[in-house]
Symmetry: C2
């Protein structure tokens, strides 16, 4: 394991709450870091095997009623140490990939209405996003009142909210801009 982030996400999730199965981890991921990270089962299950042979996690017999044949895991001391080591290292920026901006950048090649549609669609998505994030914020305090992770979780949430709000504001002015472009050169076809 050099810099495989899947492995670290798993270690992190087991650090927060032990005795999770691969299935649990995937679900928990979706509802916690889902807005800025994702993993598929095809990554998680092989990673669990790998981490086990490296002694960073331990397969345990499920303490809670063994309702189903499912394998739960717990973090070992070595695993926790490894997680902390990774956390202390500088974060890396992943290569940006924003198809919305790409299409907007090439907007002149299509009719202005195409870009308008894309921006409207983005606004729609961001409105939903904002509602979701605010919902999570409201609930989180009720569900995990004393959880020591809360300050960190709230920080990730508040960044999401701030960015979404900024994007929504931008969207409003972008629609105005596009309207004036359209007025200046209505249905302007790209040159052949």
């Amino acid at each position: 394991m050099r810099d495989n982030r899947t492995d670290y996400v798993i270690l992190g999730m087991l650090a927060i709450e032990p005795n999770r199965s691969g299935y649990d981890i995937r679900k928990a991921l979706e509802f916690s870091v889902g807005h800025f990270w994702s993993e598929s089962y095809g990554q998680i299950y092989p990673a669990l095997k790998r981490l086990t042979t490296e002694g960073l996690i331990d397969p345990i017999k499920s303490t809670s009623a063994p309702k189903q044949r499912r394998q739960e895991y717990a973090l070992t001391d070595a695993g926790r140490a490894r997680l902390q080591e990774w956390l202390a290292q500088p974060f890396q920026n992943d290569p940006p990939r924003n198809e919305f901006l790409l299409k907007l950048f090439f907007g002149r090649e299509a009719s202005p209405s195409v870009s308008v549609r894309h921006v409207r669609e983005l606004q729609e998505k961001n409105r939903r996003m904002l509602a979701t994030l605010k919902g999570i914020e409201r609930m989180a305090h009720e569900v995990h009142p004393e959880n020591p992770n809360m300050p960190y979780w709230m920080l990730t949430l508040s960044l999401g909210i701030a960015l979404t709000r900024a994007a929504l504001d931008w969207g409003e002015s972008a629609l105005a801009q596009l309207a004036s472009v359209d007025a200046a050169a209505p249905e302007c076809p790209p040159p052949a």
Copy 2:
């Protein structure tokens, strides 16, 4: 070619300015959409071959002085049509991958100072980013005064600026938050 975005980026760049080589395209990408999209040579050169056999671009003999052995390309009518078709389709959101937020989310597993360092580092990056984007904005009008693509390019820029500013604001308050976490539980070690 089903939904390979590399191909469409190339078509788009050739639509904006024809007679570009693979090398040119890569360079142009870096300095235009570089903040929200990237492609490597390992993607571009095979794509140029593929697009040629599909008749979407044409290899041309360099009109300008053939200073070097280099292959330039031009968009065909079919290529332009394909680009427009793609532009009109709804954009897709790429799976989010933000290692900064991931580390912040697990921040409780490390000492508070680790998270503080990460946020400071982010602030630094965003300050540089903001300066860069504003620089581009200032220059763009001088360099391409009458370019019909400008409205679209400026929109992508202004979103970048808005998001960066929002992130910077968040960073300030995040540092304050982290300071109070640190005060409440200084050097709080994660439980063994």
